[in-house]
Every structure is written in C-alpha cells, then in structure tokens.
C-alpha cells in the first residue's frame, strides 16, 4: 500500500518536472522569423519605397521587427494587454472584419439591381451646359454696345466683337453650380431657358451684358446600372457589411446580461 502511494507520488513528481520542462521550452526567448514573414516584410518595404532594400536596410528592417516583438512579449508578460481600451477596441474591430468577410463577395445581378433601384438618387448625374458668350463689360456702356452688336449680327450678320471675359469665352459641360459660381444665379436662370444653337441676348449678369450661344445641354439623368456598376457594388457591399454586423450583434446580444448599478447617479 505505502509503496504504491510512493510510486504514484514519484510519477506525479515526474510529470510535474516534465511539465515545468515543457513550459520553459514554450517560454524560451527564441524569436523565430518565418520565411513568409521575411518575404512580407521585404515586400512591404519595397512597395512603400519603390525599390528593394539594401543589405543595411534589411538589417534595420529585421531589427525593427525584433524590437517590436521583444516589446510585445515583455508587455504580455507584464499583462499590459489586460483591460486595455485600445486592445479591446482593436479586437472588437478584428471580429467585425471577420464577420464582414462572411458575406458573399459577389452579389447576384438581381440583388444589385434591387439595390440600385432603391438608391437611384445617389447615382443621379446632374445636367451640364456647354456654351459660348460674347461679353460686354459694365465698365464701358455694356447695354448699348451689346444691343448694337447683336442687332448688327441679326440684320447684317456682322461678327459680334465683345470684351474679353475674365474666365474666358467657351465653357464646356459646366454644372449648374459651376455656372452660378462663375457668373451668378441670374445668369444661370437665363442659360436654363435658352434654346439651343442660337445666339441670344443681351443677357445681364453682375459683370455686364452677355450674348450667349447655348451649344449643348446634357440633361441630368440616372445612368444605367452598367455605367456605375463599381460604385453600386461598393455601396452594396458596405451596406451589406453594416447589416451583417448588426445582425450578428443582435443575435449574440441576447446571450449577454448587462448589469449596471441602478443607484448610479448620471
């Protein structure tokens, strides 16, 4: 009886020491840098700098890596990772990424079309206007000169010669905002109501009088899905990701109980 207890005790002791042995093995101060790790370090460097690193630079890359690893391990030993707000956030972020990745990369055509129909307004392309103008500066008799020049053009086909305008003569595919920015609101409301390919005027702006030729109007339109496919795909994906996270949290939340001191004074 006594002997058996002693044997068990001896075996127990052996296991205990073996355990210590193995554990110390795991706690060894080896830093093993795998081939993959090296490749990724070097290629990251190359992609940032645009050339492969020199020998000296390789040494410093590896040193940086080692330093980080050492500090990281020492910090773990000191349990600095415990109850750290940043680490918590980072881990929460990581699981978010994980969950986001679970959604299928390629939404079906039908899903995309549905999404596109629902959010058409986001892809609306605003109208643009292309036009030329002859400018008559308010500094020198704008109204009179403009009227005379335009009359001459209409009756005898005389070429209209105005003053140079600060921002030029020809404007190509300008949006409403650009026209308002360059000429003001009044001028834009004029442009909006002009008929195409026909000199018209004189029209007023804060700068003087303008005789305008509206050359082309591209009406605002909702582009077909193919034209904005990439953007729709991205928007769809980001919406799906948000949804996936919400669903995941809602699902798992019920398993948690939140306890807050009811007497806490906010």
């Amino acid at each position: 009886m006594n002997l058996r207890i002693l044997v068990f005790f001896a075996i127990g002791l052996l296991i205990f020491f073996l355990d210590i042995g193995f554990n110390s093995e795991q706690n060894s101060k080896d830093i093993y840098i795998s081939d993959q790790e090296l490749t990724s370090l070097l290629s990251a460097w190359k992609s940032q700098v645009g050339r492969p690193p020199s020998d000296e630079e390789i040494v410093s890359i590896i040193n940086n890596f080692v330093q980080e690893e050492i500090l990281y391990r020492e910090a773990l030993l000191l349990e600095l990772d415990q109850e750290d707000r940043i680490i918590k956030r980072r881990l929460a972020q990581k699981i978010t990424f994980l969950k986001q990745e679970t959604i299928p990369d390629d939404p079906s055509q039908e899903e995309l079309e549905n999404f596109f129909d629902l959010n058409k307004d986001n892809y609306f392309v605003p109208a643009t206007y292309s036009f030329s103008h002859h400018y008559f500066s308010k500094e020198s008799n704008a109204k009179e000169r403009a009227a005379k020049a335009f009359n001459g053009y209409k009756t005898n086909g005389t070429e209209i010669i105005g003053d140079p305008f600060f921002l030029g003569k020809n404007f190509y595919q300008n949006s409403a905002n650009e026209i308002k920015k360059n000429f003001g609101e009044l001028f834009f409301s004029t442009i909006e109501n002009l008929s195409l390919n026909e000199w018209s005027g004189p029209h007023e702006s804060v700068f003087g009088q303008h005789i305008i030729l509206l050359k082309e109007v591209q009406n605002g339109f909702s582009p077909p899905l193919e034209k904005v496919l990439i953007k729709v795909q991205q928007d769809y994906l980001s919406q799906a990701q948000d949804k996936a996270i919400d669903e995941y949290i809602n699902e798992i939340r019920s398993q948690y109980r939140v306890i807050i001191n009811p007497d806490y004074k906010f």
Binding site: I86, P164, Y172
Partner: protein, 691 residues
C-alpha cells in the same frame, strides 16, 4: 554602480537634452515611415478639360477640428468629415448650436489640426479611456457633452487652455517604464510622456487622412492631408507656426511636431527626407504678425548667419506664406510703411497665445518687410530666404471658416462665438458678473473694459477678422494641379472676398490688346506671371499687365495698386513705393501723387448698405514703372481694393440693435494681394563691401 543607476543617467540625459532645447538636427526614423492612406474610389469621368489659361480656385488650407487640443477645449466636436462637408456647401453646427454655412462652396480645403497632441484632449475627456484615470485630466472629463458646451463654461475653458494643459503636459514616465524604452528605440519622444497615448494620436491622424481621401474628388473638389506644426521660440515666445500639406495619399505615419523639435529647420530636414522617399509636401508659415518679429528673422533659429544653403532649404519647403487670416493681416504695419495709407488694416499686434496679451514687434513680422529683408540678405550675398508667394486662410477652430463680415463667428468656438464674447456688443450685467466671477475664481485679471460709458469684453478678439482665402491659378481642380500652383507661387490671397486678379510682367506687354480674347494666352506667352522671376533683357524697362475682377456677391472694385520694393545698390537701404495703376469710374491716376481720386463710395452705417452706382466690375491696365533702374533687384506685387463695406463688428452691433463700438473701424476695404514678380538685373561685377 548598478544597472539601474546607469539607466537613470541615460534616461535623464535624454530628457535633459530635449528639455533644455539643445536638441539639434535629430531625425526620428519613425516619423519618416510612410503610409498609403488612399481608399478605393470608383473612377470618375472628369469631363472638364484642363484649361491652359488657368482658372482661379478658392480654398482654405488652415482648418482645425475636434482633434486640435485647443479646439476641443473651445467646445468643438466637429470632425474632419464635418469640415469637408462644410467646404462643399453643407451647413454644420457651431458649438453654441447655430448653423454655419458658406455663401458659396469652396474649391479646395485642408484640415490642418495641431500635430502636437493631436486627438489627445478628446481622449482625456472620454472617461472610459486609460488616460482619463489620471488625476489631472479631471477638469476635462466630459468637457464637450452637449450640456457642458455653454457660454457659462467660457471662463473654465479659458483657464484650461492657459494653465491646466501646460502644467500637465511635459512629464515623462520614470526611466524603467517600457514606454521610455520604446520612445528611445523608436526615436519617438512623445511616447515617453505620461500624458500621451501614441495609439490614440496615430488613430486621430489616420482619421484626418482618411477624411481627406474620402472627400478628394478630382475635377470637382480637392483636399490635402495636412496638419499644423505648432512651434514657437523659447525666447520671447515668438510664434513660428506652419501648416504642412502633402501632395499625395502617401503621408508619414505621424506628424512631426514640436515635441520632435521646436526648430522649423528640423521640420524642413524631415520634409526633405520625405521628399527623398517620394512624398512631396510644403509648409506655410502663418501669423507672422504675432511672432514678435521672429518669423522673418535675419538670422537662423539658433542665431547663426543666414546662408545660401539656408535660403534654398527654406524656399524649397516654404514657397507660400499665409498672410491674412482670422488673427489679422500681415501685409505691412503702419510703423513699417508710414507712406502706405492702407497699411493700418486689420492689424493684430499681440503675440499669438500670449497671456496676458503682449505686444508683438512689427519688424520681421510682416511680408512686405520680409521681402525687403530677403533682398537685403541677397544683396549681402547670403541668398534670399523670403521669396515666397502669398495666400490667405481662415485658421478656424470650428471646422468652418467664416469669411463674410455679415456672417461671422470668429474661430475659437465657445470663447468668441457670441457678439458679446467678441467684444463688439456691450455686455449685459449677467455677463459682466460672470466674467468677474471667473477672474476671481482663476486669479486672472478682469477682462472687461469701459468705452464711452459702455462695458465690453476686453479679450483681444476685436482685433480679429473675417478673413481669408487661398487662391491658386490651376489648370484644373485636382490635387496635383493646385499643389503645383503653390510651388510656382502662382497664387493670391484675399480677405475672404472672391475677387480675382491676374498679373504679368514682360518687355512686350504693351503690345497685347487688352480687348482681345487672346489677351491671357498672349500674356503667358510674352511674359511671366505672379510668383516668378523676370530676368533683365538688355536693361529694357519691364511692362506689367494687371486684370482684376470683382466678387459677384461682394462690393465693386475701387482701385488696383502695384507695390514695389527694392534695395539701393550703393547703401543697401530698403525702400518701398505704392503706385495706384487703375481707378474705378473712369478716374485717372494723379501722376504726382500716384493716387486715384476718391470715387465717392459710401457706406450707410445705419443699415450697412453701400453706394450702388460707384465702383468697377473689372479693372485692367498695363503699367510701366516710372522710377525703374535696370541695375537694381526689385519686387512688385498687386493689391486690389474693394469699395468700403461694414466690418463684422459693425454688423454685430447692427444685428444686436446697438451702436457700433466707437474705437473700432466701422468699415473695411476687402482686398486681394498677388504673389510678387521679382525683377532680376544682369549680375553686376560690382563688389560691395557690407558695412
């Protein structure tokens, strides 16, 4: 001698070196690490073809959000994303609850939060953060919860800004702390400070960069990743602040700050280092007016003589200067330019951030003086470090620049978000009591003043302005096109008005027909434009071409002036002269006085309306310098003046239904300044012995 003692010696030496300012040319490797902040954006079709005659693009390159330590204390919670939305024309909220909205959207914008302690105050205020466990963060806990952002909190906030922060900030961890070693290993000294959390800092910077990337839309709207390098001299507290912007989605992993070095020359070394790695950037000094004359010194930071090498390094990194903003305009000072009738314009004569407000020496603090100093240094053979172009920006701390006199909220959030807080409207008894209580509580001088029987806040905000804008002549609205305009110095500054000005010089400008459609094209072909050098051609007299257009929503133009500066060859004496070159309403310049006659424009102070029948929509002319000497280096820049309009303080009074404060200017003349053109004579064989 044991190990820990050696450690102690090593660490205290590091901090001694740092703290005593003997910190020389120290390059931290980690600040040179480059990160690609670009985000996936769908390809956009850029319809507008680029314009070889260039277009003026208006923007603001000096904007703070909640990530700036002071902005957060001023109650600001606007994010960089909010700031960009504002620039694109959306309304965002002022900390005091009202809407801030631009009259017209801007073409480009850069959020430039203070690099120093970026993101940290928000972290102190967040009671769930590690930092907030420190005793000294207590006054900042929940600082900007909505119920805490009130006018009443003004006193406490001012106190936080001036005292609490400075006491808490520069305290390192003890030498054995892992963070100290990390700081040492990574050459990142701020990591060793107890009040600093590098992860929070880095993520704030990444968010600033991400916002810029998200809103940058080539052809429509341009943003820059940027920050403010907020440094100052130890001596006399001279402000040496600069904004830094990057011309790419690639930017350093963290901003280089005054904790790395307080010497701007080290900033340039860092920028040169980044440029070697393919990341181009530029730094823009601002508020030279409040630098106590130290922004444009005639010696280096450490008091050595300026050299050609210094001049080249400075100009490589600082091609433009922000010369007008909320904290005043730095064109020139009445003491520096006694013959300039327009010199006394929005002068802010206090050192930036000084408490109590302290006078700032004008010499070396204004751009015209700097240009003259540059010529003088050049005359001495030391190179010209002050050959910069001009821009304006707002320096708003609410995310939203206020550029219009009639729609103004100053910049310091809760502190100056009300008319009474800005000192433009008399204080109510309640507010007087509040200010007196605050003075007693925090042991501060009482900041009220009596002017002609009324009591106003005495806080210095009355010297601040609804200014300014940066304008770039660019081929198209893209990041690179605008950035290159800054590098060429083809820029002008305005006080918030959207007027525009072209400026050319050459030897055949007068042959260009000012009424022809090809005028601009010809001017580019036959000469140089603003920001450039005009080299002598057989000692011919240069001819200048100026064309200014009014802001369609502002006041009409009154006159165009050319400001000339030069250094006399024989004596090295700096000189300046102002020529009116174009007058509104068909008036002509008096050849004796070089001035336009008064055009009679008036402002009705009772309702701020202006004369509707005087002033010009555009002014254009060619001009020849009547006092030209082909052997003398000179600079020429344009100043365009609008008809007078009400100043913001008058608008404040009008809206509040009280009389304008009698000691403030009732009206101002909004204006624009072009970058100079420098005339360079043939190199003379003359040997000058400096006296």
């Amino acid at each position: 001698m044991n190990k820990s003692f050696i450690g102690l010696v090593v660490v205290s030496t590091i901090f001694l070196i740092y703290a005593t300012g003997f910190y020389t040319n120290f390059q931290t490797d980690s600040a040179l690490e480059i990160v690609d902040f670009s985000i996936d954006q769908p390809e956009t079709e850029n319809a507008a073809p680029s314009n070889p005659d260039r277009i003026p693009l208006y923007g603001d390159l000096h904007v703070h959000t909640k990530y700036s330590f002071d902005a957060y204390i001023f109650g600001v919670t606007a994010t960089p994303y909010d700031a960009y939305r504002y620039a694109k024309g959306e309304a965002i909220k002022h900390p005091l609850g009202f809407d801030m909205k631009l009259r017209e959207p801007l073409d480009f914008y850069a959020v430039t939060d203070h690099g120093f302690y970026m993101g940290m105050i928000e972290n102190y205020a967040d009671t769930s953060s590690e930092m907030s466990k420190n005793e000294w963060t207590k006054p900042m806990h929940n600082l900007n919860r909505p119920e805490n952002v009130t006018v009443d909190s003004l006193g406490a906030r001012a106190d936080l800004f001036s005292s609490v922060l400075t006491q808490a900030i520069v305290k390192p961890y003890p030498y054995w702390h892992p963070k100290v070693w990390k700081a040492w290993f990574t050459n990142n000294i701020q990591v060793a400070l107890q009040s600093f959390d590098y992860d929070v800092h880095k993520s704030a910077w990444a968010d600033v960069a991400n916002a810029a990337e998200e809103f940058n839309k080539p052809g429509e709207f341009t943003t820059f990743i940027g920050y403010e390098f907020t440094t100052s001299t130890d001596v006399e507290g001279g402000n040496l602040h600069r904004n830094v912007i990057f011309n790419s989605s690639n930017a350093p992993i963290r901003p280089w700050t005054r904790i790395d070095s307080i010497n701007p020359e080290d900033l340039w070394t860092w920028m040169d280092g980044l440029r070697d790695k393919g990341v181009d950037s530029l730094a823009m000094p601002h508020n030279s007016n409040g630098s106590n004359g130290q922004m444009f010194e005639v010696e280096t930071f450490r008091g050595n003589p300026i050299s050609i090498e210094y001049a080249e390094k400075r100009m490589r990194n600082e091609p433009v200067v922000e010369m007008t903003q909320v904290k005043g305009t730095s064109d020139t000072h009445p003491l520096l330019s006694p013959d300039d009738e327009w010199a006394d314009f929005e002068i802010m004569d206090k050192r930036v951030g000084s408490r109590p407000p302290t006078y700032s020496m004008p010499q070396g603090g204004y751009v015209r003086d700097a240009y003259l100093r540059g010529l003088t240094l050049d005359w001495e053979g030391r190179g010209n470090p002050y050959k910069f172009g001009l821009i304006g920006s707002s320096d708003t701390h609410t995310g939203a620049g206020g550029f219009d006199e009639d729609n103004y909220w100053s910049k310091a959030g809760v502190l100056d978000g009300t008319d009474m807080g800005r000192g433009s409207v008399p204080l109510t008894p309640d507010r007087i009591e509040q200010l007196e209580e605050y003075a007693e509580l925090y042991d501060q001088p009482i900041s009220i003043q009596d002017i002609e029987g009324r009591t106003y806040a005495d806080v210095g905000f009355d010297q601040w302005s609804a200014s300014g804008l940066a304008v770039a002549w660019a081929e198209e609205n893209t990041r690179d096109s605008i950035f290159q305009a800054f590098k060429r110095k083809e820029t002008f500054a305005t006080t918030g008005t959207r007027m525009a000005v072209r400026f050319f010089a050459g030897f055949d400008m007068q042959s260009i027909d000012l009424d022809s459609e090809d005028m601009v094209k010809n001017a580019y072909a036959k000469g140089v434009t603003m920001g450039a050098d005009l080299f002598s051609q057989d000692n011919q007299t240069p001819q200048f071409l100026v064309w200014a257009q009014r802001d369609k929503l502002g006041a009409p133009l009154q006159r165009v002036q050319i400001i000339k500066g030069w250094v006399e060859n024989a004596s090295g004496t700096p000189k300046e002269k102002i020529y009116d070159v174009a007058c509104s309403d068909g008036l002509t310049v008096d050849p004796i006085t070089n001035r336009c006659p008064d055009n009679g424009a008036k402002v009705n102070i009772n309702n701020c309306s202006i004369s509707s029948d005087v002033g010009a929509v555009e002014l254009k002319t060619t001009w020849v310098d009547p006092d030209f000497d082909p052997t003398i280096k000179a600079f020429y820049y344009v100043r365009v003046l609008e008809n007078p309009t009400c100043r913001w303080s008058t608008w404040d009074a009008l809206k509040a239904g009280v009389k304008p404060r009698p000691d403030l200017d009732e009206t101002i003349q909004e204006r624009a300044w072009s970058s100079p053109i420098w005339y360079i004579p043939k190199s003379s064989k003359l040997n000058i012995i400096p006296l």
